[in-house]
């Protein structure tokens, strides 16, 4: 399993290259054009990331983040979720760059290979910016009554957070 996950990037690169060559596509120009898209994404998230990471740093330095963590601990404990991830859980459904700011801070503070760092990474990788997505889809299709879409989506999020804590502990604990 370990060799398979270590080699996943080279492996996907190889499959992508061979698949595109078989169709006689220009692999290299596709790499450059797709990469240019990546540069645009990075440029777009830098300013919000600066604003949000500044707020996260202030919250942590003031001591309020620790107070919040202590406050959320009993509730999260019931679901088996480490209390340190409370700020990430709060911001994840609202803002993608906010979640990246909080999550990367958790990973840096506790260590990428720590249980908390890994839990935060799995949470980031397996959940979405729920409210933003809902706003985009309902806004674009002109539907005003969301019916049960929001509760169902939030239940999936909750399962994602609890599942991230559970599976990380199972595989790395």
């Amino acid at each position: 399993m370990s060799a398979a996950t270590s080699l996943i990037v080279p492996f996907v690169m190889l499959i992508a290259g061979l698949g595109a060559l078989r169709r006689r596509e220009d692999v290299f120009s596709a790499l450059a054009e797709g990469g240019a898209d990546g540069v645009r994404v990075l440029a777009k998230i830098l300013p919000p990331l600066v604003a949000l990471l500044t707020a996260v740093y202030m919250l942590r330095a003031s001591g309020a983040m620790d107070a919040l963590t202590r406050l959320a601990a009993p509730v999260l404990k019931l679901l088996g979720i480490p209390a340190e991830t409370a700020p990430l859980i709060l911001i994840r459904p609202l803002s993608g760059s906010g979640a990246l700011a909080v999550g990367s801070e958790l990973i840096a503070e506790h260590g990428a290979d720590s249980l908390i760092g890994r839990t935060a990474a799995v949470m980031l990788g397996s959940t979405e910016t729920t409210f933003y997505t809902i706003a985009v889809y309902f806004g674009a299709s002109g539907i005003r009554k969301t019916r049960y879409a929001i509760p169902a989506a939030l239940l999936a999020d909750l399962a994602g957070f609890a599942g991230a804590a559970f599976f990380t502990r199972l595989l790395f604990g």
């Binding site: 990546g38 600066v50 740093y57 889809y137 049960y148 989506a153 599976f167």
Partner: protein
């Protein structure tokens, strides 16, 4: 919606941190943190920039090689079962499977327009502005993030010195599978109850 929520959250965090620092005696730390956060953000971006640019390129190669269509084809039988209304509507099924497969490959920019087209098709028989069951399920599938290779997170982990940035993959897959199952089940149960 997002813009307004974030405006309040950001201002509230700044207000709360400042007020809390006066009470906790941490004002010097907060003042310093206000300048350090921006530096950390720029460092984070430079840490993840290389892998992200590479991956966006590789995914474009994947797309031109027909990977998105191949995944979409594989998904079709499952999606017709989940979306009974798409059985009679080929355009809906087409954009629906393309949307989910783009999400799985992490092609967010391509996934959204496809999803919106699917949303329009699935809302055809909407009654006075209320979401159809198909529309609700589509939103749940899109909010539950079923991404096969979460590159951004792996890049963040690599930047923070992880020994194997991708060793979280099995945990991510199991978690995604679990959360999407819970979301779909919840949507199906809500649909039955509120009819």
């Amino acid at each position: 919606m997002r813009v307004i929520a974030l405006a309040w959250i950001w201002t509230a965090i700044v207000l709360f941190s400042t007020a809390y620092s006066l009470f906790a005696g941490t004002s010097a730390e907060v003042g310093r943190a206000a300048l350090e956060g921006g530096t950390a953000a720029v460092k984070l971006i430079t840490d993840i920039a290389g892998p992200i640019v590479l991956w966006c390129g590789v995914m474009e190669v994947m797309r031109r090689g027909g990977a998105a269509e191949a995944i979409a084809r594989l998904l079709r039988p499952l999606l017709t079962r989940l979306f009974p209304s798409a059985k009679r509507n080929n355009a809906a099924l087409e954009s629906l499977s393309a949307n989910v497969s783009a999400n799985m490959l992490g092609l967010g920019n391509a996934a959204t327009p496809l999803g919106i087209r699917a949303a329009e098709e699935l809302s055809r028989d909407a009654v006075d502005g209320g979401a159809t069951d198909g529309m609700c399920l589509l939103v749940v599938l899109n909010t539950a993030s079923v991404q096969l290779i979460p590159t951004t997170v792996a890049a963040v982990r690599a930047g923070a010195g992880a020994s194997q940035p991708f060793d979280i993959l099995p945990a991510v897959w199991l978690t995604s599978l679990f959360s999407v199952t819970v979301g779909v089940t919840a949507a199906k149960l809500f649909a039955r109850r509120r009819r």
